[in-house]
Point group: C2
Chain length 230, copies 2
């Protein structure tokens, strides 16, 4: 069984967990505290970032996007060639653009701020004890989530799923990010009913079960977090 | 002929120019000033980032990594399947890890700071005229470039090229970033002879010619920039 070095509130790690589950692949999860920069972990990934997949045959595969492509090449084929990734190059490019958008832009404009300020700063106290959350960063995240939610709603209204008619890596990437934000109770669901309906569909997939069972010590999820009818 | 929306000192754009040239594909270049956020450009790419490739058949392909994968899928095959991208999934994952490392980490720790502070701030003056470069950002970049150069030297000494024996997307990504830094005269070449020898090899490739001919108004390149024997 492959091993995934992850953190429950790392959206990139959640993305890989969703990809694995969609491909019907079981995995052993190893919790990492990315801020600790342990030598053993840096030997696996000199960048010190999550996630890292350890494949039984191929060894360490590093980074959410390389892992997703790797799993598609090694596991996806057995489910049919275009599960999660269409076969036409232009359609593949659109899936990759959107997966990068969510894992890059939504992460850096919203998820990263919220998880760092509300969770990691408390779990990883500095030399003088825990530092207090940066209110400006949290305000920026709360403002930015609104246009990301509208963009999801816009895409879904036109295409059914984010990159086209069928579910793809783009939906899993977006759902992984949104699920971390939702864990912290920071998604203004009332603002976009299309985005909400899309996330309700994503949440109902069997691949989402382990994500919805996540808890982080000292930071319980928002009350509606695991509720399929939120 | 495809069209590439780019900026001469956008490393991600240079990466795609190198990939196109390695695949023997001619391209029409359209200069963009990414800070202008023109409506026409945002319609091509809502993220407002460079590069964007306009393929004659498939339309807009957005983002350096999706474009490289797209070109490999649509153009790479005619040169032999493993030009720039090996065929084994584990080797592909290593190429992708390193391309992401350079386009992400080297970009955000070095190239982005230097290009923004030394060039873009002057070309894109704020409401009160040009803002002065942030000395702390430039200092950080000058410190960070050293360990990136050592990492390149370390990989090359063990593998010949960055991700393995043969040249790959990883080498082109690293060379694109380094070439922007070198344009600004900010690579401390004396610090790593393996990295220097690798870059001399990269610079000598025909695909590099157009990169070495680049100039930006008001910012001429460092004197040794186009010199193959630097």
């Amino acid at each position: 069984m492959p091993v995934l070095h992850h953190h429950p509130l790392s959206a990139a790690s959640r993305y890989v967990r969703l990809v694995l589950a969609e491909f019907g692949e079981e995995v052993t999860l190893v919790d990492e505290q990315p801020w600790e920069r342990s030598e053993a972990f840096l030997a696996l990934n000199p960048a010190g970032t999550l996630p890292v997949l350890i494949d039984e045959t191929d060894g360490a595969v590093v980074g959410a996007t390389p892992i997703a492509e790797y799993l598609q090449e090694t596991r996806g084929a057995r489910l049919g060639e275009d599960v999660l990734m269409p076969s036409a190059p232009a359609a593949r490019a659109e899936v990759r653009r959107l997966a990068d958008w969510f894992l890059g832009k939504l992460e850096s404009e919203v998820t990263g701020y919220l998880v760092t300020e509300k969770v990691f700063k408390r779990l990883a106290p500095g030399p003088n004890g825990a530092s207090s959350p940066d209110a400006a960063a949290i305000r920026a995240a709360r403002s930015n989530i609104r246009y990301h939610l509208r963009y999801i709603g816009y895409l879904v209204a036109r295409r059914n799923c984010l990159a086209g008619k069928e579910i793809s890596f783009a939906d899993l990437a977006a759902a992984a990010e949104i699920s971390c934000i939702d864990y912290l109770g920071e998604v203004p669901w009332e603002e976009d009913s299309n985005a909400k309906a899309w996330y309700a569909r994503m949440k109902s997939r069997p691949s989402f079960r382990s994500i919805l069972a996540d808890t982080v010590r000292g930071n319980p999820p928002a009350t509606h977090y695991a509720d399929l009818d939120f």
